[in-house]
């Protein structure tokens, strides 16, 4: 036994090895799987590594649902990547585990308020947005279907009545009485939520209480909006049982010609063209406003943040700045991912906007709408409120299972409970 103890002691003493200093910096970047987004990010990584040969950035991607699960298990364990691509509206709920932007690294007024505000929590900036997430303001239209219905193209709608005439003409019903083509698909989860919020704003109301500590969904403006949404169902331009987020989702319905018009963000175009490269001509067309101005609420879109556990936060922030605040780099990412820029100069400068529109011509009617957008506001759990409360409740109302009054009561009560 004595020999055994001597051997153990000797090994212990010898084992205190040497750790050498590292010149090479390796960063990990996590993002959700989305072909065009990932392609754009990889191009930024390659460009950054070419400029900074001592830095290696490895991108790891996860399927969307798995990404959220991975974040929530990895962050408490401190295993997350140095750079995290996050949806802006989530950022404040992860802020405790993120690194705040050092000093005056980037002037945040360069970005549109709607995407930027999601990254600012209690006065600190926790990331930079790469896209302006727009889900309301313009509608995707199928040129061939308009022409087949004998309608003018591109359409110009001064009022909702003009819009409804076209939508009714575009709707088709089969011999068995089932709707085969919806004239206007506005019943995706995001479409319902953002149409509802925009309707409240455009009707002159607000969906926040005074100190933004709760929602106001039981109001005359909300009622007017819901009545208008229901009137569209009653007019027969959509069957909300057959066309919604889980059945004939808007993006699929549009690119398979089951929807002549769909309310969906431009991000869906790259996705649709990826699956249906031979799809015919399409455009975005601005929707009429409910009120005098075209105000709408917008999520803060995807952007880059730095983990609070990163041992190379300074280098990580340098990459974030390189990717999101440098106009050339940000433009390249937007053009590849097919998204609307968060950086003002890319929209307001003619040279940049011309490049953008050359790559993504369908954005032309969308860009003038950006000025009307405002950030939806911070809430404890945006996904819960949007997808488990507002969307299913309004869909139930559209399907005739709830009255408008009941829907408003449910939404206000259940959404406000999420603040407790």
């Amino acid at each position: 036994m004595k020999k055994l103890l001597i051997v153990f002691a000797a090994l212990f003493v010898l084992s205190f090895g040497v750790v050498t200093a590292q010149d090479q910096v390796t960063l990990r970047l996590w993002a959700h799987q989305e072909g065009a987004f990932n392609e754009g990010t990889q191009a930024l990584i390659d460009a950054y590594m070419a400029e900074n040969p001592n830095v290696t950035i490895e991108m790891e991607t996860f399927e969307y649902d798995l990404y959220i699960q991975t974040l929530q298990t990895a962050m408490p364990a401190g295993d997350e990547a140095d750079i995290l691509a996050l949806f802006g509206t989530w950022v404040c709920s992860y802020a405790d585990r993120l690194a705040a932007m050092p000093g005056e690294l980037v002037d945040t007024s360069q970005f549109f308020d709607a995407p930027m505000d999601g990254y600012i929590c209690d006065g600190e900036t926790y990331g930079l947005p790469q896209e302006f997430n727009l889900e309301y303001g313009a509608v995707l239209t199928n040129k061939a279907m308009f022409e087949a219905a004998g309608l003018a193209y591109p359409p110009v709608w001064e009022t909702w009545d003009d819009f409804m005439v076209d939508a009714e003409a575009l709707t088709q019903v089969g011999d068995d009485g089932q709707m085969t083509v919806t004239g206007y698909h506005y019943t995706n989860a995001d479409a319902i939520v953002f149409a509802f919020l925009a309707g409240i704003l455009q009707n002159g109301g607000t969906y926040w209480n005074e100190d933004m500590s709760g929602f106001v969904f039981n109001s005359p403006e909300a009622e007017a909006t819901l009545n208008q949404m229901k009137a569209m169902v009653d007019a027969g331009i959509i069957d909300p049982v057959l066309f919604n987020d889980s059945s004939n989702w808007g993006g699929d319905a549009f690119f398979t010609e089951q929807a002549a018009m769909v309310l969906i963000g431009p991000w869906a175009v790259q996705y649709g063209l990826g699956d249906f490269p031979d799809f015919g001509e399409f455009d975005y067309v601005a929707l009429p406003s409910f009120g005098e101005d075209a105000s709408f609420a917008a999520d803060s879109g995807w952007g880059l943040t730095v983990s609070g556990n990163s041992s190379n936060a300074e280098v990580a922030w340098d990459f974030v700045q390189f990717a999101a605040a440098n106009a050339e780099n940000a433009l390249g990412w937007n053009m590849t991912s097919g998204t609307i820029p968060a950086l003002r100069v890319l929209v307001e400068d003619d040279m940049y906007s011309a490049q953008l529109l050359e790559a993504l011509p369908w954005l032309e009617p969308v860009l003038p709408e950006l000025q009307y957008g405002s950030y939806i506001g911070g809430m404890p759990d945006r996904d819960l409120v949007f997808y488990d409360i507002i969307y299913p409740t309004i869909l139930d109302m559209l399907q005739g299972l709830l009255t408008v009054e009941d829907a408003m009561l449910y939404m206000e009560e259940d959404s406000n409970a999420s603040f407790e």
Partner: protein
């Protein structure tokens, strides 16, 4: 060490060297006339300590010169203390008659695995049920409990009975799970027992063919099964609506329409029950066939000699003798019905409708959504605890009701 996930490596070092240490050391101790159980314990501790210390030292020493190789080489860190232990531990003169080296070497690593991978997560879930825990929040220093993840006592269980949205959704999920189980269990038994008897009665050449055909859905991916049935029940292009259309029946939005029902049963719930049964019944069928083959032919012959018809033999001899098997299969079916998730997640995503009124929102889906989508781990753990209790109670009742006091 950029790009090195140290926590993951620590876990590898722990699992590898705990098992190697506690698995091999008892055999060596046994050969040296030492107590193998003592060897298992010493091997476990030495393996863990050596794996952690020398794994880390090998990693930091090698990383500067061979960063790709270093994590792999660090895996042998446990051997640094274990090899001296195995080679230098002295043999005792004492003669041992009982040799339990193999037993200690197999049982100890398994107990260790069970403790780490099953018992600890169970205890963790039990603890979480009394905390308002979310991995998003930075909690106290001990396991993240406390701080922004406060102790809430029985608050989650009170919420289950309240009018709050979470309470309403929980009660709807519980009701749907019970309804799902109440449909699946009798339907499964009604299909599988007669089918097993019929298959048992065919020519022996055909038996394996039937068994294989009926068992195939069991080994098929649940997601694949759900996608297939999703197409069958599709409102616009579904096979079922096509067939119904031939008889002049108007198409039904099986999975989307909350108002659609068959004999008062929500169509969406019925659709997922059918899909689930189709995939699951082959499992019980094979068990019943095995049970039927175990019933002595002499008992049936005796009944036939006494003038019993085939039906009487089935009801009065075969079925009672299958009672222990029916108990096992019904317990397993209830447990698996309570755990239904994948088929529903793919076919309806817990819809149609709001979570507190949807006909296919079940408990496991509620747990999944709250834990992994909304990150309300404490609330999800409390639902899991209730589900565990319900399965335990139902299993206990089944065991009492179907208990038999005899053997053949």
């Amino acid at each position: 060490m950029d790009g090195i996930d140290l926590d993951a490596l620590r876990l590898y070092w722990l699992m590898i060297w705990a098992v190697a240490g506690s698995g091999v050391t008892p055999l060596i101790f046994d050969r040296k006339n030492r107590s193998p159980w003592q060897g298992a314990l010493i091997g476990l501790v030495v393996g863990i300590v050596s794996g952690q210390i020398f794994g880390y030292l090998l990693l930091v020493t090698l990383y500067p010169v061979a960063p790709d190789l270093a994590p792999w080489v660090s895996m042998i860190g446990g051997l640094v203390f274990l090899i001296p232990l195995w080679t230098l531990v002295p043999q005792t003169a004492k003669v041992r008659l009982e040799e339990h080296g193999f037993v200690a070497g197999t049982v100890t690593p398994l107990i260790f695995y069970l403790l780490v991978l099953s018992v600890f997560p169970l205890l963790w879930a039990l603890i979480l049920a009394f905390f308002d825990y979310s991995p998003r929040e930075v909690g106290g220093p001990f396991l993240g409990l406390g701080g922004n993840n406060p102790f809430v006592g029985f608050q989650h269980f009170e919420t289950m009975l309240s009018a709050a949205r979470d309470g309403r959704t929980f009660r709807n999920s519980l009701g749907n799970t019970l309804a799902f189980t109440a449909l699946v269990l009798p339907l499964n038994m009604l299909i599988t027992i007669p089918l097993a008897v019929m298959i048992e009665s065919v020519h022996k050449v055909l038996k394996p063919i039937f068994r294989a055909v009926y068992f195939l859905p069991v080994v098929t991916s649940s997601v694949g099964v759900a996608v297939m049935w999703g197409y069958i029940f599709h409102a616009q292009y579904g096979l079922l609506n096509d067939v119904l259309g031939q008889f002049g029946i108007a198409p039904i939005a099986w999975l989307q329409d909350q108002l659609a029902n068959i004999l008062g049963m929500p169509a969406a719930l019925l659709a997922v029950v059918i899909a689930y049964l189709w995939q699951d019944f082959g499992y019980n069928l094979v068990i019943f066939i095995a049970a039927l083959q175990g019933i002595p032919e002499s008992l049936k012959d005796a009944a036939r000699v006494d003038g019993a018809s085939s039906t009487q033999v089935f009801w009065n001899v075969t079925l009672p003798l299958m009672r222990p098997t029916i108990l096992v299969t019904s317990v397993l079916t209830v447990i698996s019905s309570f755990q239904v998730f994948d088929i529903i997640q793919v076919m309806t995503q817990g819809g149609p409708g709001r979570p507190d009124s949807s006909p296919t929102r079940v408990l496991v889906l509620d747990i999944y959504e709250n834990a992994f989508r909304y990150e309300k781990m404490g609330w999800a753990a409390a639902i899991s605890l209730v589900m565990f209790g319900m399965v335990a109670i139902i299993t206990l009742i089944q065991s009492r009701v179907l208990r038999s006091d005899w053997e053949y």
